[in-house]
């Protein structure tokens, strides 16, 4: 049986992971087809009808400006998922770009890179993101940049340690001996073999990215109104907690469900890719 099939079957046996995948699939559909699935325009205000509790016309109620909450939550899925993927994608790319040479060449380069990573890791991740947004100013793109940058050191470290290990293995030595260029070795031989921990880390990092971006949004440092980002919605809803708790409840629930499904998938991947025989 081929290796990929084994991994797939192991993953499928994990009920939580499968449940997570289904939920994530549903969220992805919401994100892609938000325009068609949302019953109302998420930006359409209706002040006469604001702070309305859930009802037959507005399934989740309306927010402080009368906008339909369900539509905003559905569009929020698009924003959060896009955000998660772009942030993690770029962090992954830069992390590999920095970590791979560090692990492969070692020596001075490794030292410098690790020092830089250590410095960035001396700050709690959210604080780092907050600092970057404090410099750049609030906004969705700046929030993405901030979260992305705060994720890079972890990837650099992970790639570096994987490469340190791989570089001693026979197949790498063999490639070197037949004269393959370093670039070729790194991309054609070592990188494909370092995918497993990177994939697991990335899945979990998308969850973290969504949480961090939502936190920035909640603090008012991320997506700005009227963008229907879940964290920002919670922040607005907070003022009306006493009279309209649904504005706080549902976006937060959406965040939790998204992050939960990603965590379940990540755990499932970790178990499925685990080389242990038991």
């Amino acid at each position: 049986m081929n290796q990929k099939r084994v991994i797939y079957l192991k993953f499928r046996r994990n009920r939580l992971a499968v449940a997570g995948s289904i939920v994530l699939g549903f969220l992805v559909i919401c994100a892609i087809f938000a325009d068609y699935l949302a019953p109302y325009d998420p930006l359409q205000a209706d002040l006469a009808n604001n702070l309305a509790p859930p009802s037959p016309t507005h399934t989740l109620g309306t927010d402080e400006l009368g906008r339909d909450l369900l539509s905003r939550v559905i569009h929020g899925a698009r924003i959060s998922l896009q955000l998660g993927m772009i942030t993690v994608g770029t962090a992954l790319a830069f992390g590999i770009l920095i970590g791979a040479p560090a692990g492969y060449y070692g020596g001075r380069l490794d030292h410098v890179v690790m020092r830089l990573a250590d410095i960035m890791l001396s700050f709690p991740t959210l604080l780092l993101a907050i600092m970057i947004v404090a410099i750049l100013g609030p906004g969705l793109t700046n929030a993405m940049l901030a979260v992305g940058i705060s994720l890079i050191p972890e990837y650099a470290r992970l790639t570096r340690s994987t490469f340190l290990y791989l570089r001693e293995l026979d197949f790498v030595q063999a490639a070197k001996m037949i004269g393959a260029s370093d670039v070729r070795i790194i991309f054609r031989h070592m990188l494909p073999n370092s995918l497993a921990p990177l994939i697991i880390q990335s899945t979990l990092n998308v969850a973290t990215a969504i949480l961090s971006a939502a936190a920035l949004g909640f603090l008012g440092l991320g997506a700005q109104p009227p963008i229907p980002e879940w964290g920002a919605m919670l922040s607005k809803g907070r003022v009306y907690l006493m009279v309209a708790p649904h504005i706080t409840l549902y976006p937060g629930l959406a965040i939790m469900i998204s992050v939960l499904s990603l965590n379940m998938i990540g755990d499932g991947l970790r178990d499925a890719l685990d080389p242990r025989m038991t």
Binding site: L16, L127, A215, G252, N263
Partner: protein, 306 residues
């Protein structure tokens, strides 16, 4: 042992310098005249000039950095634009609150996390185990500001048992620390469980069992101490997340700690405050990591003998 502590302390110095450089650069990267930024838009020209001299803002960057460090080491972190008080004063007013919150949450997280992890590991794959791990997964996935608001809604708004905002009494600490513990306890619980499972598999446990020791004695007397080592590392990581989460939690509960100070400062463009609080957070975090590392070295005998 002492040698290890000293070496570890020495190793933090370059990192400290690098971190201070990063924070120093952070402020100077904002577009605009740093003197005006530090003094505020409508400050009097004499104030702006004196700031220029004090922080050497017309000098080349390396000189500025040295002046910055000199000021910091003297305890001068600047003056808050918003309040007019010195930044050190503002921080000193609030840091006890943050520390209290952080430590209470941490104690809750460690206590419950360890307990849950140990119990789950002694009944692996049982209902109790699966249920608690599922709850742990949910806890780690829920954003802290959401749990905080829900707790606030249930216990402060609806039931009125606990205060929603502010600080000062023990009741004020309850909701924020529970919210914070909500996403830190699960991490400790999971690590404890997996660590315990590793340990319980080992031969020396089998030996203890065959000697006839009670399960309780085995678990608490032998297994736990050995399982604790990776847990200590995780506690260090968790503390970092806790600090980050405390910034958000303080905002949710209007809790007057340095987190709220930082956020208020960012919105007020109070750059001296921003710089000062970030510095304190970084110092706090590095200190915490140091303590964790030393604790780790202390309880892991393998490091002792290096």
């Amino acid at each position: 042992m002492l040698g290890y502590v000293l070496r570890r302390l020495l190793a933090t110095i370059p990192t400290l310098i690098a971190v201070s450089m990063a924070i120093f650069l952070m402020l100077r990267m904002i577009p605009g005249d740093p003197a005006l930024l530090m003094a505020g838009e409508d400050a009097r020209p004499e104030v702006v000039e004196s700031l220029r001299r004090q922080w050497g803002l017309t000098e080349p960057l390396p000189v500025q950095y040295l002046l910055f460090m000199r000021n910091v080491l003297e305890g001068n972190l600047g003056v808050s634009i918003r309040s007019g008080y010195s930044v050190s004063y503002e921080i000193s007013l609030r840091i006890p609150h943050t520390l209290r919150l952080a430590f209470v949450s941490m104690i809750i997280a460690i206590a419950f996390g360890l307990l849950a992890g140990i119990i789950a590991s002694t009944r692996p794959y049982s209902l109790a185990d699966n249920l608690s791990m599922l709850v742990a997964l949910i806890g780690v996935s829920a954003p802290v500001f959401w749990t905080g608001l829900i707790l606030m809604w249930i216990f402060a708004v609806k039931l009125g048992w606990l205060p929603a905002v502010g600080a000062g009494t023990l009741q004020h600490l309850v909701l924020p620390s529970i919210a914070l513990a909500g996403f830190t306890t699960p991490v400790i619980a999971r690590q404890t469980r997996s660590s315990m499972l590793e340990v319980l598999r080992q031969d020396f446990i089998r030996t203890a069992r065959s000697k006839g020791l009670s399960e309780k004695a085995i678990v608490y007397g032998h297994a736990v101490r050995n399982a604790l080592i990776p847990v200590v590392t995780v506690v260090g990581i968790v503390f970092g997340r806790l600090l980050g989460g405390s910034i958000v939690t303080e905002t949710v509960f209007a809790y007057p700690g340095i987190g709220k100070l930082l956020i208020d400062g960012i919105f007020a463009r109070d750059y001296p405050i921003i710089q000062g609080t970030v510095l304190i957070y970084a110092l706090l975090f590095m200190l915490l990591n140091l303590i964790v590392d030393v604790t780790y070295a202390y309880i892991d005998p393998r490091i002792h003998y290096e």
